[in-house]
């Protein structure tokens, strides 16, 4: 029996038992439209790739990290200084987290501007938005884990903002902090969210998101005549291109980690006053800066509450995008959606920069 025959028989044996044939069949039918906006299709894949990196580096970090007030900072310092390549793994984890959130935002806006959210892809949009929420929660919880001065006070401020939510604010803040104030209980909690609750939620949502994309196929922008758009096979043509992009992303990550290692900061000291320049991670900066701009009292309401109320309404409108984007006659309000998308992107960009500069 030749080597080729042997390989074929082995493949057949596995196929019979696992049914890879069906998967391969499915893969062979999956196609990707080729047009001017095709590059935007890569961003979902990059997000997924960075998420995989987060899982791998996160598991590695867990081997040495200790989630207690006494040891958290020291253990991260230990990882950075004593464990071989610990600086690299931790820096990649931090950089990849930030890049992932950035790429996820790009992905979201590309979906808005190519109107890929429209029927029958409402659920894909919703699962994507849920994933973005999970990622932000990842970021918020992970930020505290090194237990340094900046992250400690940023979490204090963040949970204080949560406390101003109407009606449920106090309870929500208590739930997040695991008590009245940010402390050891908060650290334990955030650790549990970060390594168990959120990863499980993320994996379920990613599965759902991919399943829905598989079910509905790739969307083409509404201004293109679908029957005349060329396509390429997902496997291997698109996949190989995506692979190239991933490799590129990896090189960028490695370079960022080696050239700009993530800093450790100073160990958190709850008894000092907040150091100057406390600000949250950049992806919360726009909201943070907006809340700062709102006067302390608007009409008879507390300023922060007004801000939160406004954010809440805006979020609901945004999440419900696929449901109001179409006119009753079925035509798309594409100009309205594009305009709103541009406005939101511009707001986030400008306020993030302002929040950073001020």
């Amino acid at each position: 029996m030749s080597a080729a025959e042997l390989r074929a028989r082995a493949a057949g044996w596995i196929d019979d038992r696992l049914g890879f044939g069906a998967v391969r069949e499915l893969m062979s039918h999956k196609v990707v439209p080729v047009h001017a906006a095709t590059p935007w299709y890569y961003f979902g894949g990059i997000t997924l790739f960075l998420f995989a990196i987060q899982i791998i580096t996160g598991i590695l970090l867990m081997l040495y990290y200790r989630p207690t007030v006494a040891e958290a900072f020291d253990s991260v310092q230990f990882i950075m200084t004593r464990v071989e390549f610990g600086w690299l793994i931790r820096s990649i984890h931090s950089w990849s987290a930030n890049l992932m959130i950035f790429v996820a935002f790009v992905h979201m806006f590309s979906v808005v501007f190519t109107h890929a959210y429209r029927a029958p892809r409402e659920l894909t949009w919703l699962s994507g938005i849920a994933l973005l929420g999970v990622m932000l929660a990842f970021g918020f919880s992970g930020y505290l884990l090194p237990w340094n001065q900046i992250s400690y006070f940023a979490t204090k401020v963040g949970t204080d903002v949560a406390a101003t939510t109407p009606a449920i604010g106090e309870a929500l803040a208590r739930f997040l902090r695991g008590g009245e104030d940010v402390g050891g209980a908060t650290l334990t909690r955030f650790f549990a969210f970060h390594v168990i609750v959120l990863p499980l939620a993320a994996m379920l949502l990613v599965g759902l998101h991919l399943l829905l994309i598989q079910k509905t196929g790739m969307s083409t922008p509404p201004w293109m005549d679908r029957s005349r758009v060329r396509t390429m096979k997902f496997f291997p043509n698109f996949f190989l291109r995506e692979l190239m992009v991933w490799y590129g992303a990896l090189a960028v990550l490695g370079a960022l980690a080696a050239i700009f290692p993530w800093e450790l900061g100073e160990k958190a000291d709850p008894f000092t006053s907040a150091p100057a320049g406390i600000r949250p991670e950049w992806y919360f900066l726009a909201q943070f800066y907006t809340l700062k701009l709102i006067p302390s009292h608007v009409w008879f309401l507390e300023g922060e509450m007004v801000g939160l109320l406004f954010f809440g309404i805006a979020a609901v409108v945004w999440v419900a995008l696929p449901f109001w984007a179409s006119n009753p006659d079925g035509s798309l309000r594409s100009r309205l959606v594009t305009g709103l998308g541009i406005f939101l992107a511009a707001y986030l960009a400008v306020f993030t920069v302002l929040g950073y500069v001020k």
């Binding site: 791998i56 081997l63 200790r66 040891e71 230990f78 004593r82 464990v83 071989e84 690299l88 793994i89």
Partner: protein, 161 residues
């Protein structure tokens, strides 16, 4: 002539096919090599990361300060505790004490004086007793005391919780 031409064509075709095959093998070689090498460069740090470092304690809350027989009763020595010095004192055969060796006055390193059974800072003549309290001289605060455990032959200093 035509025969010659056709044979030339066929040679050209086989040349092209050979060149193509050559290119193809180069691509596969590059691809295989690149993937293998890049995977190796990813896994190398991971494997090294998994290897537990020599000092297996994550925090500087505990440090091995040497062996029991290395320190005579009524003597002391300065050991490294994280990135600061600590003073280990063997008061008697069985009694051990340990303190931060950083003088609370101007951060000089303190030492044990067996003649007075006190801790002395040579910079400005500060004296501390064997509880870390200031006896005389300029130190404004007592020395931070650490806990000492003797495990078999090893002396371990740890930060008090």
């Amino acid at each position: 002539m035509p025969v010659q031409e056709s044979s030339k064509q066929s040679t050209q075709r086989t040349d092209g096919a050979r060149a193509d095959r050559k290119r193809r093998s180069l691509v596969s070689w590059l691809l295989g090599g690149g993937v293998a090498a890049s995977l190796a460069s990813f896994f190398y740090p991971v494997v090294r990361f998994l290897n537990p470092p020599a000092a297996s304690e994550a925090s500087v809350n505990e440090v091995a300060a040497g062996r029991v027989q290395d320190l005579k009763p009524n003597s002391g020595k300065v050991v490294k505790f994280g990135n600061k010095p600590a003073l280990l004192v063997r008061v008697s055969e069985t009694e051990w004490k340990a303190f931060s060796a950083v003088c609370t006055h101007l951060n000089c390193t303190v030492q044990y004086q067996d003649g007075r059974q006190q801790i002395w800072c040579a910079c400005h003549n500060g004296f501390y007793d064997l509880n870390g309290a200031v006896v005389s001289g300029p130190p404004p605060r007592p020395l931070e005391e650490f806990a000492v455990h003797v495990r078999g032959d090893d002396v371990v200093i740890s930060r008090r919780a």
